[in-house]
Every structure is written in structure tokens, then in C-alpha cells.
Symmetry: C2
Subunit: 459 residues, 2 copies
């Protein structure tokens, strides 16, 4: 998960608002909102109209906002510590090296046009037609790669900068290896993003421009599977039930009641979801994005979300809360194509899973995907790439190691090995080799899984 800037940034925002004398206007506006709430609601509900008014107000005042600086690094070539490291011998010593020597400051990002509402890109209204035409002209890139098997692209990523703390990159590495393993077994391709395509949509919102770009560039993709870098596959044998979603375009782990009835901010999870490549999805992305642009828009939208959703803490707007809000307030428009899945852990909150791995090994087996053997264990809140997480570092890292090994064991057993324990990096042999390797029993059926077989035509 990319960092959420909460406290310091908001304080700065508030200070700027005071300087510009806008807080008075805001107070007046909120009074009007409360009054309106007791008077009546429009088609999509008063909160939405208010948000739109708020957004337009913010756009009008955007020209006074400070420029955004992202991914800024300082060039400290004159640092005395570097001079020491430069001496012969030290020059080859990684421990003595200051990474700031090679960081490059490329200046500021382009300022967004303050008069233009944010847009993910030029409106496309005939994507289904464009896509169908392209597919018929390109049979070598069909949308289905087997009977009932759609072509899926798993998308994930992380910052192009080294993690703020050293251990973070190591866990990012283990996490991508984990994804490589699952995807290899299941015939899924991977796109690992390290580029910030749109400075306004930095942080957790960065996935939206990326997803849109990939969908419209790759019409051959039937489903795009977004997965956070802090989520790991823990059931290597579970194949997503694609047939179940034949009438759906957007699949997230969640519960209808928690989203539509309670408007609970964790009623669904956007850390692991499936999005079909179609016009509906492009429209959804357009409807999802308005709360994302960094700065005033995102901050103010955050306040709306905290107010409107159940249990949401105070922080800038995040994509997950925005989706709960969008679905809860526009169910008629989107709900029929959204599948909130809870029969298996398309996303599994790590807190309730990681202490049960041994029990799972004792009583169950891979292929179940649910509470008995979760498809995905998602380390929300751990943030190993940053400085501070929401949980104890020791617990997070220990459990991430265990989750990794839990999944890795299912790969290793294919080859006759297993980790010495869920806590250990070391492996031990559990199946002796023979001179007839192809007669060895493939217990989990992961060596040549049926969901991977593809008959290639002769031409």
C-alpha cells in the first residue's frame, strides 16, 4: 500500500486555508448543507450534490494552491560523508555509500490547469465496439485462452524509490516472487508498475490512471486483476471461479449489507479486485476518480467520506472509501454489475488468518481459497516500505515471513521440498528423487495444473 499522508499534510492545508481566508466561507457552506439535509434530497442524495458543489468551489480556488512536488530527491554531492566514502577502498563499500549521491532531482511536476476538472483521459464511449473489432482482426490475441478461461493481467507495483526503511524492498521482492509463482501456475500475466503516470493521482489513487491505460492498450485482456504489493497468495491451488462472474464486471471481496446498508468504509476492499475490460469499467473509473486529485480535492473529499461512511477515520480521500461511497449512493447505476464476493478470500485480512496457518495445515488443504485456506493474505496497515506502520513491526514482518512460507511451501512441495518451519527461510527435502521423475505423484496437482493447459492450434 502506498503511503497515506495524514496529519502533517492536513495541518498544512488548514493553515493555507486560514491564510487565504477561506475557512469562513467553508463554515458558511457547511451550515447551508446541514440546512439542506433537513429540507430534501435530489436524485443521488444531498451529500453527492453537496460534494459536487464543494468540488466546483475547490476547482475555482485551485489556482491559489501550492504546486505539488512528488518524488523529489535532493542531490547532496557535496556531503562530507560522501567525500569519505570516495576514498579508495570505501568506493567499493556498499555500507559506506550514501544513496543520495545518485538521486536525481528532475524539477517540479507540471501544474494542472486550475480551470479544468480532473479527467483520467479523453472520453471513450464505444470501447466495446472498438474492442470487438480489434479482436476479430487479431485472432492471435484472443480474450479467452481456454474453455471458460479469460485472459487475465495481474497488475501490481511499488514506488520507483528505494523504501524508506531497508527491509521494505526485501518484502516487496518476496511479494512479487509469490505473485510470479501463483500467476505461472494459473496462466496469468503480470504487469509490475514503478511509474507514476499522473502526479495528481499519487498514492493509492495511482492505480486508476494505470488501470485505464492498460485496459485501453490491451483489448485482449478480458479481466484486469489489481493486487496491492502487501497482499500475498496463500492458496496456490485455488482457481478463481470465472464462470461465476460472467454477468459481472467488477469483483471485490466484501459484503452487500456492509456497503449498501451500513456504508461501512471497510465493507469492501480495493486491494485485490477483478475488473472486466469493457465500456462499463471505463465509465466506472471515470466515476471513481473525482475524489482522487491530490491536495484540496482529496482532503475535502476525505472529510465527506469520514462523515458519510461508518467508522471511517479522519484522513484524505482514499480509493476504497470512495468506492464504498460511490456504490452506496449510486447502487442503481452500478450495483447490478458489481459482485461483492465473500465465499473465498479474494482479499483476506491478515489479522484473522496468520495465527491459524498451523491449524490450516493440520485440518485442510490448498484449493479451498476461503477461511480454511485463504487465497490471499493481505497485510493491510503493515506498510513495510515506509517508516511507520499501523501495527508492530515485529508482528508484521514475522507474519509476512510466515505467510510467504505458507504459500511457498505449496510451490516447493511440487519439487519435493518444504521450509523447515513457517518461520524459516531454509528448506529441507521431503521426497526422494528417482530415475523416473514423471511417475512421481503430484499431490496438489500443481505440477501441470488443468487450469493452465492450453491447446495450441497447428497454424
Amino acid at each position: 500500500m502506498l503511503d497515506r499522508c495524514i496529519g502533517t499534510h492536513r495541518v498544512r492545508q488548514i493553515q493555507r486555508a486560514i491564510r487565504h481566508g477561506k475557512i469562513t466561507l467553508l463554515c458558511l457552506f457547511m451550515t447551508v448543507v446541514v440546512l439542506r439535509g433537513t429540507i430534501g434530497a435530489g436524485k443521488f442524495g444531498t451529500p453527492e450534490q453537496d460534494f459536487n458543489d464543494l468540488r466546483n468551489h475547490i476547482y475555482a480556488s485551485r489556482k491559489h494552491a501550492e504546486p505539488h512536488r512528488v518524488l523529489t530527491e535532493s542531490n547532496q554531492s557535496n556531503n562530507s560523508k560522501n567525500d569519505e566514502a570516495n576514498s579508495a577502498g570505501d568506493a567499493n563499500n556498499y555500507a559506506a555509500f550514501d544513496i543520495n549521491r545518485i538521486l536525481v532531482d528532475e524539477g517540479e511536476d507540471e501544474k494542472p490547469d486550475p480551470n479544468k476538472p480532473y479527467s483520467l483521459g479523453p472520453k471513450i464511449s464505444d470501447w466495446d465496439e472498438q474492442r470487438a473489432k480489434w479482436s476479430s482482426e487479431n485472432p492471435g490475441f484472443s480474450n479467452f485462452i481456454g474453455a471458460n478461461k479469460p485472459r487475465v493481467l495481474l497488475v501490481t507495483g511499488s514506488s520507483p524509490k528505494p523504501c524508506e526503511n531497508p527491509i521494505g524492498d526485501h518484502y516487496l521482492l518476496k511479494s512479487i516472487k509469490n505473485k510470479i509463482d501463483y500467476c505461472r501456475l494459473h496462466g496469468i500475466e503480470i504487469f509490475y508498475n514503478m511509474a507514476l503516470l499522473d502526479a495528481e493521482m499519487a498514492g493509492f489513487w495511482a492505480k486508476l490512471p494505470l488501470i485505464r491505460k492498460l485496459l485501453i492498450s490491451h483489448p485482449e485482456i478480458e479481466f484486469l486483476w489489481w493486487m496491492d504489493s502487501d497482499a500475498m497468495f496463500t492458496d496456490m491451488a485455488f482457481e478463481v471461479p470465472w464462470e461465476r462472474y460472467k454477468d459481472s464486471n467488477f469483483v471485490m471481496h466484501g459484503w452487500n449489507e456492509m456497503v449498501y446498508d451500513q456504508k461501512n468504509w471497510i465493507g469492501l476492499n480495493t486491494g485485490s479486485f477483478l475488473l472486466r475490460n469493457c465500456q462499463w469499467s471505463l465509465d466506472l473509473l471515470d466515476a471513481w476518480s473525482p475524489m482522487g486529485p491530490k491536495g484540496k480535492i482529496r482532503d475535502e473529499a476525505g472529510k465527506v467520506l469520514t462523515r458519510e461512511l461508518k467508522n471511517r477515520p479522519v484522513f484524505e480521500a482514499d480509493d476504497q472509501s470512495a468506492m464504498v461511497y460511490l456504490l452506496a449512493t449510486q447502487r442503481d447505476k452500478w450495483g447490478d454489475k458489481v459482485y461483492l464476493e465473500n465465499a473465498y478470500y479474494l482479499h483476506g485480512y491478515w489479522g484473522i488468518l496468520v495465527d491459524r496457518y498451523e491449524e490450516m495445515i493440520e485440518n485442510y488443504h490448498p484449493g479451498l481459497g476461503d477461511h480454511r485456506w485463504p487465497l490471499v493474505t493481505h497485510f493491510v496497515g503493515c506498510k513495510p516500505c515506509g517508516k511507520f506502520g499501523d501495527y508492530s513491526v515485529e508482528r508484521c514482518l514475522k507474519q509476512m515471513d510466515r505467510a510467504f512460507n505458507f504459500g511457498d511451501n505449496q510451490i516447493l512441495q511440487i519439487y519435493g521440498f518444504t521450509h523447515k518451519s513457517l518461520a524459516s527461510r531454509r528448506v529441507k527435502r521431503v521426497k526422494n528423487e528417482t530415475g523416473n521423475p514423471l511417475e512421481a505423484k503430484d499431490e496438489l496437482g500443481l505440477l501441470h495444473p488443468p487450469f493452465k493447459a492450453v491447446k495450441v492450434s497447428a497454424s
Copy 2:
């Protein structure tokens, strides 16, 4: 590249030899060797016979060798620094966390049987037949996934431990992203290894047991492509000329003269090579492995290699030198199936490439794979995962960033972006979006490359 333990380990070996009173025997033996060299040679040359005698001698005395301890980590749960980090607030602080708190010591590795010569596994003599039978029974896993397109598995990996220096894991992460990108475009699967399957074959030799295991587990693989973690793809458009190798089983970058005539230790490179899945390859792996077992065997073999090869420094036996030696001394047996490729950079030494990237961009284009636009830039000697490299850290990391961006630009241009400079992590848009994304020109042909198209049969 996995670490090479040179100085300290050898000194310990020598001290043990002295303690056991064997150095006298060794001196006597060497005298005999020199005398024999002037007397005559057997079928494969005196050095080989001598090596065999030396190896048998070492096997006989192995029971006195100290046990090998690999991947040992210490549990420092009583460390005072940890007590400080445990206090509230610090518990969530990654900067205050000592990773040793969660490292697990799983004890010593099993001791190898001193009376048994090393073996990669039970001898298989009919692999071609086993494989052909399996293929005919499993049409969903054919060896060829398109006309002239073999099924290829790219194999790479790194240690399961965090790098000794913090920045190393970040470069491993960028390196695997780079490989994911190339392989996605070229329809190649990836296996990222983090398990040490055989403690005796640690370090650069670890690839041999791994490769053998993967070949015999996956008969559907036609070619296994080993690639070091410090090698990066810098030509995303270059497709390996598979047809060229239809009569070869083993392809490495190198030069016939340097291997067979000069016995130059860098006459070929084993950091990036193609190995066909067949009986011949299993036999080659068996012939390659004897110099690998850690300890006396590897040390003594290192001395043989330094003596026999041109320009080889003094250090324990490495897989690359061993391959030069094997081919040079047994050309009749292996040479006809080995292709030493130098028409393009299946491996490209970074030192002569990285300063020319701007010149390449100016004058050439992707798809050439050679000195004009190298397929692979290989950062031999940089060792960013360790403490010390063979080159300046600043130069290595700066150039690794440039190589990564040079390759990444070819991916980003598909989507209309590019890095702001070869030194910068940041990207900028270079192609405006339109409402008709499928009509956009695909200059490099990487969006839907012909070498990726696969016609899937209806059933």
C-alpha cells in the same frame, strides 16, 4: 550473482589442512603431478586425470572436514537495542527495528556422506524417451507454443535473506521487474528461486541442482534460460533466434577461440544461457557438477582451474571456469552441441555498454540485440546485494539505474511515456491520449508483438 567466499574461507580451509597434517601429502602429490605432466597424457589429458585422483583423495579424507553451516542466522532476542524498540511507539517504527529479532536459526545442515562422491541426483538415462511419452499424453502442455517458438522457462533468483546492504534488495526488485517485462512480451515464463536446494552446492553452483530439478519436473519446457539476478534486459524487442539453435543444446555468449584455443576463463559466460531439455543436458549437468561441492573439493578445484585457464584469478572453483575447462578438455564429447554465440549479447558485459546508451538512442533502435542495442546488460562484479563489489558502488548503482531506465523506456513508450532522463525515476508523457487508443501507432511493435501471438484451438 550469489556471493563468492574467497579469502576468509580459504584461509580457514588451509588452517584445517595443516591441523590434520595433510599439507605434506598434498605437496608430495603435486610433485608427482608435475612429473607426470612431463611423462605423458591419457585420453582426456593429464590435468583431468590428476583432478580425478585429487578428488578421490579428498573424498577419502572428507570425514575429517568440518560441517558446513549455511544460511545461519543468530537469534538475538535478548539484545538491549531490541528492548528499546519494544517500547510503545517504537514498536511500529521500522527504523528502530533490528531484523535479527525475527531471524531463525534452524540448526546445521545434514552432513554429506563422506564416502559418497557428489551427485546431482539418481542417474537418468532415458530422459528423451520419458519426455516424448509424456508429451504425447499431455497435448495441453506442448513443447512448442507457436510455429518455431519453443516453450521457454526463464530461471533466476537470489538469497532468501535480506541483502547485507540495504540498497541491494531494491536493485533485485528492479531487476525482476525488468525480466517480468521482457518475458511478458516474449511469452516466456519465469521461475524465481529463493531456496537453497543443496547446501553443498551453495553460491554460484546453486543453479545446477535447481536447473536439473526444473528440467525433469517440467518436460513441457523445451529450453531453460538461466539468467543471473545482476543481468538486465536492455533490448525489449529482440527475439532470440530459436531456429539458429535447432541442432544445439547449450547456448552461451562466448567465442570458440577463447574457450578451445586459449582456455580463457572469460571465454564464455554462464550468467545468461539457454539449455535444452534433453538427455544430453542432464549428462552435461552431471559432468559440470563435480567441481562444485563446497569446501575442499571446490577449493582444490579452484587451484586446478587457476592453473589450467588463462588469466583466472585465485579463488575457489566457479561454475563458469569449470565450464570453460570442461569444454576445452572434452570438446569431442560436448562441443558439437554447444553454440558459443557472439552475434548478439545474450550476455553483455556492462563495462563496455553503459556509457554508450545515449549514442545507441541517437543512432539505433531496439530489436538489434548486439553492440548497437544489447539484449542483455550484465553487471558482473557489482554485487549490490553484498558488502563489497569489484567496482565503485557509485558507478555500479548509477549505471544499473541507467540500464534499467534504458530498458524501461521501451516498455513505457508502448503507453506513451518515457523517463525524464536515463538517470531519473520520474516519467513524462510523450504521446497524447485519444478517444481511439487502438489506432495509435505502435512504433516498436511491442504492444502486440508477433512473437507473442498464439492461436488457441477451439477445444
